[in-house]
């Protein structure tokens, strides 16, 4: 068995999870068990199908990634993994650490957002937005400036409005590696067939919780320079809801009432802004500078 620590939780796994922080000794009080096994037809009886490859019951979440694995996440405390025949474990872990961990953290009562969390002083900013808008590029750019990253992709926020530190790595595409002059010797691909790398955070990993000060909602637009428009009132609430990680999971697992309360509570505590960046001729450092300005940090 292998022992790890992530998201404030102790994991005990039947197979290695090298992306997580290893615990040097056998962990007491394991919070989450990750095991290998089968998901059977009987297991799905009574579960409601909420998407082509997702079935749910109260506290029971089933996900299939065709050709990769089936997963079962139960009561926020166990994950059963059934790998497809001949699949590599890099691919299995990719979806385990993404969608499955997202479901796990929801089951454990966190508000989970789809973005990244960057430590600024004694607080953090959370940047959300659609795939391809540049969230991981932004994480990497902040790293290069000496800032630490709490989480990338799956960002859990507790009832106090604190981000819980996640997995100490960022997934970066080949073009980001080139653009930000990152040395790619020794970097591993996230899975075979994709030009995307695991970039370990090492000293750039923030392993303590940080209270969220700002939420920035990123988008690309036909403009010449970065534009920031703050959100107020009820729109803050809807913006949070719209940028929740896998809203379908929240609805499917009957967590909507809790989710609404979480969004309402967080909206009242933080500043929130839409941040549009130019689609063309855009320099990531311009965005970093602007966000630091908004948070009143020296650039």
């Amino acid at each position: 068995m292998f022992d790890y620590y992530a998201y404030g939780l102790r994991f005990c796994s039947e197979f290695e999870l090298p992306e997580l922080s290893a615990v040097g000794h056998q962990a007491d009080d394991v919070d989450v068990f990750v095991s290998l096994g089968e998901v059977t037809e009987d297991d799905l009886k009574g579960a409601r199908q909420i998407s082509p490859y997702i079935w749910v019951r109260e506290n029971d979440f089933f996900l299939e990634v065709p050709g990769v694995a089936q997963f079962r996440v139960t009561s926020g405390s166990s994950i059963l993994v059934s790998p497809s025949v001949n699949i590599d474990f890099d691919s299995v872990r990719l979806f385990l650490l993404g969608s499955c961990f997202g479901a796990l953290l929801m089951q454990r009562g966190y508000l989970v957002l789809h973005g990244n969390a960057i430590e600024i002083g004694d607080r953090c900013i959370v940047c959300v937005g659609p795939s391809g808008v540049g969230k991981s590029t932004l994480s990497t750019a902040f790293m290069k400036r000496g800032y630490r990253i709490l989480a990338d992709d799956v960002v859990p926020i507790d009832g106090q409005g604190d981000v819980v530190p996640g997995i100490p790595r960022v997934k970066v595409w080949d073009d980001v590696v080139s653009k930000l002059s990152i040395k790619n010797e020794g970097l591993t691909l996230i899975r075979p067939g994709l030009s995307k790398y695991n970039l370990p955070l090492d000293l750039s990993y923030c392993d303590v919780t940080r209270r969220v000060s700002h939420l920035f909602i990123l988008s690309g637009s036909n403009i010449d320079s970065v534009e920031v428009d703050y959100v107020h009132g009820i729109e803050k609430f809807s913006s949070l809801s719209n940028n929740t990680y896998r809203h379908r999971f929240v609805k499917g697992m009957n967590l909507e009432k809790v989710h609404l309360q979480q969004c309402g509570a967080l909206a009242g505590k933080i500043k929130m802004a839409h941040v549009q960046r130019p689609k063309l001729g855009f320099q990531i450092d311009q965005l970093v500078d602007r966000l630091l300005l908004e948070v009143e940090e020296p650039c």
């Binding site: 490859y53 065709p66 979806f95 795939s131 997934k171 080949d174 996230i190 030009s195 379908r248 063309l280």
Partner: protein
């Protein structure tokens, strides 16, 4: 009965204009609709749509895996919204995936309106839109491997779309078996708008009265779309293009294309051009 009607076309063939008229008809307002708030649904290649339905990141999938899974996303819409009709733009050619499944199949699809335009007019429009010269645009239209949003080392906000050549694209949709297709020419939309849009909307199960249709057509006149874009921008404009709505004319090719360029396009696409009335019996442009 729910499902998806696809609004299919090769790029720069009038899809956005069609969606503007359709949106104005559906909304049936006294004012023209804002072009940035069209009432039609997500483009088939939307990564956001794909990721939301499947529950895992397309950014972590190979192109092959994505192509195999896209049909499931479209089929699912009928399961989730059994009584809703969706109108979705699509630029992909109609094709079969490696697993033999069509990209859009009859389990989720009610039908498709396929909009085509004289390739002699598509070429200059495509050149402007893609910020390339005419010969490059013509090469794209003749390339059987041409794709949109293809990238192996970075992430586009849309999924890769296989177009094939212009001829292949047209034939893939209009000759698709087991698919209910209504073919509409851009030129007929220009010269016989009431008849063309009216027949297309009837095919799409859109109920309308004559005044509503005429108003929708008037609100969507090309000059109005140009004016709106000048005033408020258009979010579908690619960053490299100076504007999205350019001229919207039929026959601009006569002023723009060289004799060699015309010859090349006719040489490559003559069969399909003749089939749809763009060439006369002697193979000359109409």
């Amino acid at each position: 009965m729910g499902g998806i009607y696809w609004l299919a076309s090769y790029p720069k063939s009038g899809n956005t204009w069609f969606r503007a008229v359709l949106s104005n008809c559906l909304l049936n307002s006294k004012e023209p609709i804002n072009i940035n708030d069209l009432q039609t649904d997500a483009i088939a290649s939307s990564r956001v749509w794909f990721d939301d339905v499947l529950g895992f990141d397309s950014a972590d999938l190979t192109m092959r895996e994505i192509e195999c899974l896209r049909p499931d996303v479209y089929r699912w819409m009928k399961s989730e919204f059994p009584d809703r009709i969706g109108y979705h733009k699509i630029h992909d050619a109609y094709s079969l995936g490696e697993n033999g499944r069509p990209l859009v199949d009859d389990l989720g699809t009610l039908g498709a309106v396929y909009i085509l335009r004289n390739p002699l007019d598509v070429a200059p429009s495509l050149a402007h839109h893609s910020h390339v010269d005419l010969d490059t645009a013509i090469n794209m239209m003749c390339d059987p491997n041409h794709c949109l949003s293809r990238s192996k080392n970075k992430l586009s906000n849309q999924l890769q779309q296989r177009l094939g050549s212009w001829s292949q694209h047209v034939e893939s949709w209009v000759d698709a078996t087991d698919l209910n297709v209504f073919v509409l020419r851009y030129e007929d939309m220009q010269y016989e708008p009431s008849k063309s849009f009216g027949e297309a909307f009837s095919f799409l199960d859109v109920s309308y009265v004559p005044d509503q249709l005429e108003r929708a057509i008037a609100f969507s006149k090309f000059e109005n779309l140009v004016d709106q874009e000048k005033a408020n921008g258009f979010r579908e404009r690619p960053a490299k293009a100076s504007h999205f709505f350019r001229k919207g004319k039929v026959g601009e090719w006569r002023q723009v294309l060289s004799a060699d360029q015309i010859t090349r396009l006719i040489s490559e696409h003559g069969n399909v051009m003749q089939r749809f009335g763009y060439l006369d019996d002697n193979g000359r442009p109409v």
